[in-house]
């Protein structure tokens, strides 16, 4: 919205209000109808399906099924791999975003390009790149053999190491972009103020900088965790049977076993976990906003 000039009359909004409201509703209609029919309704039908027996009676059987035995261990695997991915994306993302925020504009631009371009290349293609890189005769193992690393070649594919490497590289651009924004938003005068009061580098980092970026770190970590929960391209291609993710199981149940109700229950569980994560993001960011206000006032 453009700023209104002092002295110039604002748009005669009152006069046009009803017409503008009607226009608003009319223009919003396509997106609302589209998403209600093809997004909201399908999700609710998933929810209903997960609560129904074959004969149509209500049941919690599919949730019990989803939370016991093999299915429960797949859920734990999903949570574990997502947590590991979030941890590494956050760690790498923090170091990279911090380094980029210190670079001169030209180099920062080049570095950002290397972050952004992969983001727009299909995750399947990037995963395939990792499969070539991490094989027994791949670049990584060959390089380690050339450097006489003891134990090389290592088994880097079809186990959790491979999965976490691959999934982290898919999620990393998100965390870097988010953290870079947060780090650019830090008021440098606060750091200067701390320095002028005699705080050392480590103290400034620990007592001023880290608390200021902490909400950003938390939400970036939670975001990559949430995004990993429903992901299975890389785990399916680079993992073994012990790295099966819930999303992969949903696909198998629908395509191979015609077990739609069970798949629906697992989908709803993923949905609930996602909502919990998003709620945490909201709490963390509003907590961060109130603290930032206090520290600058």
């Amino acid at each position: 919205m453009a700023a209104t000039l002092a002295g110039t009359p604002a748009r005669p909004r009152k006069l046009l209000a009803s017409r503008r409201t009607r226009a608003g509703i009319l223009y919003a209609l396509p997106v609302v109808v589209y998403l209600l029919v093809l997004f909201v309704y399908p999700i609710f039908s998933t929810l209903f399906l997960s609560l129904k027996n074959a004969d149509g009676s209500l049941t919690l059987h599919w949730y019990v099924d989803a939370l016991t035995g093999v299915n429960l261990s797949v859920l734990f695997t999903t949570l574990r791999i997502s947590a590991e991915t979030a941890l590494f994306s956050l760690l790498f993302g923090f170091v990279l975003a911090n380094a980029i925020s210190r670079l001169k504009p030209l180099w920062a631009g080049v570095a950002m390009l290397i972050v952004v371009v992969p983001h727009f290349i299909s995750a399947l293609v990037r995963t395939y790149g990792w499969i070539i890189l991490l094989g027994d005769k791949g670049l990584v193992n060959e390089a380690m053999a050339d450097l006489w690393v003891p134990g090389a070649p290592f088994q880097l594919l079809y186990n959790e190491i491979g999965v976490v490497i691959g999934t982290t590289s898919v999620m990393l651009p998100y965390t870097v972009l988010l953290l870079y924004g947060v780090m650019r938003g830090v008021d440098r005068r606060l750091l200067a103020a701390a320095a002028s009061m005699g705080a050392g580098r480590v103290t400034i980092f620990r007592r001023v900088y880290l608390p200021l970026v902490a909400p950003g770190l938390a939400s970036a970590g939670l975001l990559s965790f949430i995004l990993s929960l429903g992901y299975y391209i890389t785990p399916a291609l680079m993992g073994g049977p012990n790295q099966t993710m819930v999303a992969s199981l949903i696909n198998q149940q629908v395509m191979k076993q015609n077990q739609w109700n069970g798949a629906a229950a697992q989908g709803v569980i993923l949905l609930l976990l996602t909502f919990a994560g998003l709620l945490l993001v909201k709490l963390v960011t509003s907590f961060g906003a109130s603290r930032k206000k206090r520290s600058t006032s």
């Binding site: 453009a2 700023a3 000039l5 002092a6 209000a17 503008r20 409201t21 226009a23 608003g24 223009y27 919003a28 209609l29 396509p30 997106v31 589209y34 093809l38 997004f39 909201v40 399908p42 999700i43 039908s45 998933t46 790498f92 990279l96 380094a99 980029i100 925020s101 570095a111 992969p118 727009f120 290349i121 299909s122 995750a123 399947l124 990037r126 995963t127 790149g129 990792w130 070539i132 890189l133 005769k137 791949g138 670049l139 590289s169 990393l172 440098r188 750091l191 320095a195 980092f205 949430i226 429903g230 391209i233 399916a236 696909n251 629908v254 629906a264 989908g267 709803v268 949905l271 996602t274």
Partner: protein, 288 residues
């Protein structure tokens, strides 16, 4: 971050670590590009000998790639049209008019970007399976639009917010009708944003995997699903060539977006500079 600039060794360590992480992002892509010209597609890296045979194999008789490629292109084109229609109208509603329940509409638009795509895919499967629409390119395109249209809406909201509304008001004050304003003022200024929205919608649909996998049938397989199947079931070395083409395609699309944005950035400035030159106001809103 002058205040935090540490010792020389610290800086070197940070730069080195950052470079390794950048390599971590770039290496899988570089490796695909190089391997697609290697005579031994599944063998050692770097390659011993060079060849174009994987690219030739893509279009050999009996190859599955042309069909998958054309299906994906068709589906992405359809999805782009749908996303643009939805995007333009929704962005207009959210920036240029009074909308009851505005935040609810906004939350609805963000929804598909936040919830797991597998859940959206499952829901769409449950919607289209009873309608016997599995394998229909239209169904796949309608599904992809659920993910592509929110991106188009967000880009177009930013575009419309970036256009100074006073330009539209000025045209109205000179007697221009709504259609004339839309055609002569808003549309030309929003064109770069619309092209960007179209390109991002196309990429989103073209690369989409989960919905495609749920909605495809034996006869209709999109490119990402075909790549996944090739990597899982049958070993087809030409998958490196198609992957390299996809990389080139994505980079080309991003370059296109950058060029369009760069060309478009001068436009509004030239319109506003008349105002600035006459000393009425600057776009920042300070009165002179």
């Amino acid at each position: 971050m002058m205040e935090l600039r540490s010792t020389l060794t610290g800086r070197i360590a940070l730069t080195a670590t950052a470079t390794v992480i950048l390599l971590f992002l770039a290496l899988p892509i570089v490796v695909i590009l190089v391997t697609s010209f290697s005579s031994n597609a599944f063998g050692s890296f770097p390659p011993d000998a060079w060849t174009l045979s994987w690219y030739k194999a893509l279009f050999a008789d009996g190859s599955k790639w042309p069909a998958a490629l054309s299906l994906s292109a068709f589906v992405a084109a359809l999805s782009t049209v749908f996303s643009l229609i939805i995007g333009v109208t929704a962005a207009t509603a959210l920036t240029r008019s009074e909308l009851p329940l505005r935040s609810a509409v906004y939350a609805l638009v963000l929804g598909p970007l936040l919830i797991p795509q597998i859940v959206t895919a499952l829901g769409l499967f449950l919607l289209f399976e009873p309608a016997a629409m599995l394998g229909s390119p239209l169904a796949i395109a309608l599904g992809h639009t659920v993910l592509a249209s929110p991106i188009a809406v967000l880009i177009l909201i930013a575009t419309l917010r970036g256009i100074d509304e006073r330009l539209e008001d000025a045209a109205a004050s000179m007697g221009a009708g709504r259609l004339t304003i839309a055609r002569r003022i808003t549309f030309p200024l929003a064109a770069p944003g619309m092209i960007a929205a179209a390109i991002f919608s196309f990429i989103t649909s073209f690369d989409e995997f989960y919905i495609s996998q749920f909605l495809s049938s034996v006869g209709t397989v999109t490119l990402p699903v075909q790549i996944y199947n090739s990597l899982t079931f049958d070993i087809d070395p030409s998958v490196t060539a198609i992957s390299a083409i996809l990389i080139a395609f994505a980079i080309l699309a991003l370059v296109l977006v950058a060029v369009v944005r760069w060309l478009g950035s001068g436009r509004q400035d030239s319109l506003l500079s008349v105002e600035t030159a006459t000393g009425i106001a600057t776009p920042g809103g300070e009165t002179v």
